[in-house]
C-alpha cells in the first residue's frame, strides 16, 4: 500500500516514469489545484473517523500515560502532578502483585490448554471426511454465547460446589471425592478452572483458523513423508507443524495479548475473591470501588506498554507472512 501512495505522489509532482493518465509536465497548476481539491474532499470523508480515533484511541493513549503521573481525586479529576507516586503505590500494593501473579498463571495455563488444545482438535478434525460442518458449527457455538451467560452457566452448574453440579455429579457417580471447584482454597486450581471455562468458550475461533491453515498444506508433502516411512506422529511433526508455523506463532501472540486482558472470568466466576482477580479486574476495581484512578492509570500504562510490544510483534510477523 505504501508503493501505491508513493506512485501517486510521484505522479502529482509530474516525475517522469511514474506513469499515470496525465504525464504532461507543463500542466502543473491544474494538477496542484486538483490535488488540493482532492485533499479537501479526502479529509471531509475522513473527518468522522479521525474524530472518533482522536477521542477514543489517540488521545487516551497519551492521556493514560499523563494520568499515571498525576494526583487524581475520587472522580478522576487531576489535582496536579504527582511524579512516580502512583507507580510507587502500585508496587507497594499487595493486590497488584496478586493480580500480576493471577494474570501470569492464567496466561501460562492458557498456553498449555487454550493454545495447544485447539490445534490438536483442528488436526484431528481435519482427518474426518464426514460431518465437517457439524464439528465446525458446534465448536463455534460457545464463542457466540454472551460471555456473562456462559460464565454463569459454568459457575452455577459445571462448577457448582455441591452435588447438583455437573462435575460433582460425575465424580459422585464414580465414587470419587467431590470438589469445591471455584471456591477451592488452592488458588492455582481455581485459576485452572477459569482457564478451562475460557478455553471452552473461546477455542472455536482458533480451531476454525487452524483448520483453514491445515487445508492449505499440499498433499504431496504428506505423500513424500509417507514414502520416507514417517508414521502419523512424525508426519504431524515434520509436515503439519512446519507448514503451519506462521499461523501458530501468530496465534501464540494473539493468545497472549488476549489472555493478558482476562476480565469476565474474574468478574463472574470468582468475583476476584481469594486472590483470583486479574490485572484488568484490578484496573476495574481500582476505578469503580476504590476510586483510585491514579492506580488504575498506572496499571493501565504498564499493560499498554507490555501489550503494545506484543501486538507490535504480532503485526510485524503478520505482515512478513503476507509478503
Amino acid at each position: 500500500m505504501t508503493t501505491a501512495i508513493n506512485v501517486s505522489r510521484a505522479r502529482a509532482r509530474g516525475l517522469p516514469g511514474a506513469g499515470g493518465p496525465r504525464p504532461a509536465p507543463s500542466r502543473r497548476r491544474p494538477a496542484l489545484g486538483r490535488r488540493v481539491g482532492r485533499s479537501v474532499t479526502g479529509y471531509a470523508f475522513l473527518a468522522g473517523a479521525i474524530l472518533c480515533f482522536a477521542l477514543f484511541s489517540w488521545y487516551p493513549m497519551i492521556h493514560e500515560i499523563l494520568l499515571s503521573f498525576q494526583h487524581l481525586n475520587l472522580v478522576g479529576q487531576s489535582e496536579g502532578w504527582g511524579g512516580w507516586r502512583n507507580y510507587e503505590r502500585m508496587l507497594n500494593d499487595p493486590n497488584f502483585w496478586t493480580s500480576v501473579h493471577v494474570t501470569l498463571v492464567f496466561t501460562g495455563l492458557a498456553l498449555i490448554f487454550g493454545y495447544a488444545v485447539p490445534f490438536v482438535i483442528a488436526v484431528a478434525l481435519n482427518e474426518f471426511r464426514h460431518a465437517k460442518s457439524y464439528f465446525r458449527l458446534l465448536v463455534y457455538l460457545p464463542v457466540m454465547l454472551p460471555p456473562v451467560a456462559g460464565a454463569f452457566l459454568w459457575k452455577n452448574w459445571f462448577y457448582a460446589p455441591d452435588n447438583t453440579g455437573l462435575f460433582n455429579s460425575v465424580l459422585h457417580d464414580l465414587h470419587l471425592p467431590i470438589s469445591t471447584w471455584l471456591q477451592s482454597p488452592n488458588n492455582t486450581f481455581v485459576i485452572l478452572c477459569m482457564v478451562i471455562f475460557s478455553t471452552w468458550s473461546n477455542m472455536g475461533s482458533g480451531v476454525l483458523i487452524y483448520i483453514a491453515a491445515l487445508q492449505g498444506i499440499p498433499g504431496e508433502l504428506y505423500e513424500a513423508a509417507e514414502l520416507d516411512g514417517a508414521g502419523i506422529l512424525k508426519r504431524v511433526w515434520h509436515v503439519t507443524v512446519p507448514q503451519t508455523r506462521l499461523i501458530l506463532s501468530l496465534m501464540l501472540l494473539l493468545q497472549i495479548v488476549a489472555t493478558m486482558q482476562t476480565f469476565t472470568e474474574s468478574l463472574v466466576l470468582t468475583g476476584g475473591a481469594n486472590g483470583t482477580g486479574t490485572l484488568v479486574y484490578l484496573v476495574y476495581q481500582d476505578a469503580t470501588n476504590f476510586n483510585n484512578f491514579g492506580g488504575s492509570a498506572a496499571i493501565g500504562t504498564v499493560l499498554l506498554l507490555f501489550l503494545g510490544l506484543f501486538s507490535g510483534a504480532y503485526l510485524w510477523l503478520n505482515r512478513r507472512g503476507e509478503e
Binding site: E64, F152, W200, G219, E226, L267, G300, G308
Partner: protein
C-alpha cells in the same frame, strides 16, 4: 466412499482409509467424536434450556434430572417479565445496529478516502489508525471512561448514552485495514472512467465502490455486531442506568438479587437466544470472515 475420494490428501491417505480395518476404526472414531462434541458443546445449551423448565426444588435435586418432571414454562415468562430481559435484548440490538451503521458510514468513508482520494498526509493518517491495532481497547478503559464522563472541548457526558458505545466502535483500526485493502483492489481505471463520466467522489463511492464491496461490508457488519454483544467491561462502566443495560451487564445485575436457580437458567437461555439465532443465520459469513480478514479472532 465418494467422500473419501473428493478430499485432498491429509495426514492419512485415501488408500490407507480404504483398508477395511482402518475404515472400521475411522467410523468408530468419527461416531465417538460426534458424541463427544455433542456432550461438550451442545449438551450445556440443552441443560440451560431444560433447567429453566424445572421447578425450584427439582433444579436443586441431586442427582440432577435430565428432563424436567414438570414442565414450568412460567419460569420463562417470569424471567422475561420480572427481569427486564426484553429490554436488555432490545438495548443490545439497538447499540449493535447503531455501531454497525456508524462504522459503515465513517470507516467506509475513511478507507475510501485513504484508498482512492489519497489526500495530503493520507499515509500518515493511515499509519496512525493502523498503529491503534497494537493497543487493545481494554487497556484504555480508564482514560476512555474519563473521556466519556466529560468529553474534551465539548464537555458532554456520554454516560448512559448510546453514543458511548457507538463512537468508540468507529475507532477500529482493523476495519480501516480490511476496507482499505479491499478498496485498493478495485481497479483505478473504473474510478477514472467514473470521473470522466462526471461522477464526483461521493457518487463514485455509492455507485461503483459500494456495490463491489458487499462481501467486506458484510464482514465488517458481523464483526461490529458480535463485538457489541460480547463486550462486558466497557458497557459495565458507561451504561449504569438499569434501563440502559446490555444483555451481559443486565445478567450481572440480575444475579446480584439471589434469584432462584431455575429462573436464572431460564434467563440465561433467553439471553443466549439472539446470538445463537444470529449465528445460525450468518454462520457461513461468520466462519469465513474469521479467516478471510487475515487472522483476527
Amino acid at each position: 466412499m465418494s467422500a473419501f475420494d473428493v478430499q485432498t490428501r491429509t495426514l492419512i491417505s485415501r488408500t490407507q482409509l480404504n483398508r477395511p480395518v482402518v475404515r472400521r476404526i475411522y467410523w468408530v472414531v468419527l461416531v465417538l467424536a460426534i458424541l463427544l462434541f455433542a456432550v461438550v458443546f451442545l449438551f450445556p445449551l440443552f441443560w440451560v434450556a431444560s433447567s429453566g423448565l424445572k421447578s425450584a426444588s427439582e433444579v436443586l435435586q441431586s442427582p440432577p434430572t435430565l428432563i424436567p418432571h414438570h414442565v414450568n414454562f412460567s419460569n420463562y415468562s417470569t424471567a422475561w417479565s420480572d427481569f427486564n430481559l426484553g429490554q436488555f435484548i432490545f438495548n443490545t440490538a439497538y447499540y449493535a445496529v447503531g455501531a454497525v451503521l456508524l462504522q459503515l458510514i465513517f470507516d467506509v468513508a475513511a478507507a475510501y478516502a485513504l484508498s482512492k482520494l489519497r489526500p495530503v498526509l493520507g499515509n500518515v493518517v493511515l499509519a496512525l489508525m493502523l498503529a491503534t491495532l497494537m493497543i487493545p481497547a481494554t487497556v484504555l478503559v480508564i482514560p476512555n471512561y474519563l473521556t466519556a464522563i466529560d468529553v474534551p472541548v465539548l464537555h458532554w457526558s456520554l454516560i448512559n448514552s448510546p453514543l458511548a458505545i457507538w463512537l468508540p466502535s468507529v475507532a477500529n483500526g482493523f476495519n480501516i485495514f480490511l476496507l482499505k485493502r479491499f478498496f485498493d483492489s478495485i481497479p483505478e481505471e473504473l474510478m477514472a472512467a467514473a470521473a470522466i463520466d462526471g461522477a464526483g467522489p461521493l457518487r463514485a463511492l455509492w455507485s461503483i465502490v459500494l456495490p463491489m464491496s458487499r462481501p467486506i461490508l458484510g464482514v465488517v457488519s458481523i464483526f461490529a455486531t458480535v463485538a457489541v454483544w460480547k463486550d462486558v467491561l466497557w458497557p459495565l462502566l458507561v451504561l449504569t442506568d438499569p434501563t440502559k443495560l446490555t444483555v451481559n451487564t443486565g445478567l450481572l445485575n440480575l444475579t446480584g438479587d439471589g434469584i432462584p436457580e431455575n429462573i436464572l437458567m431460564a434467563s440465561l437461555a433467553i439471553a443466549s437466544v439472539p446470538t445463537i439465532v444470529f449465528f445460525l443465520i450468518f454462520q457461513r459469513s461468520i466462519m469465513s470472515g474469521l479467516t478471510a480478514g487475515s487472522v483476527k479472532g
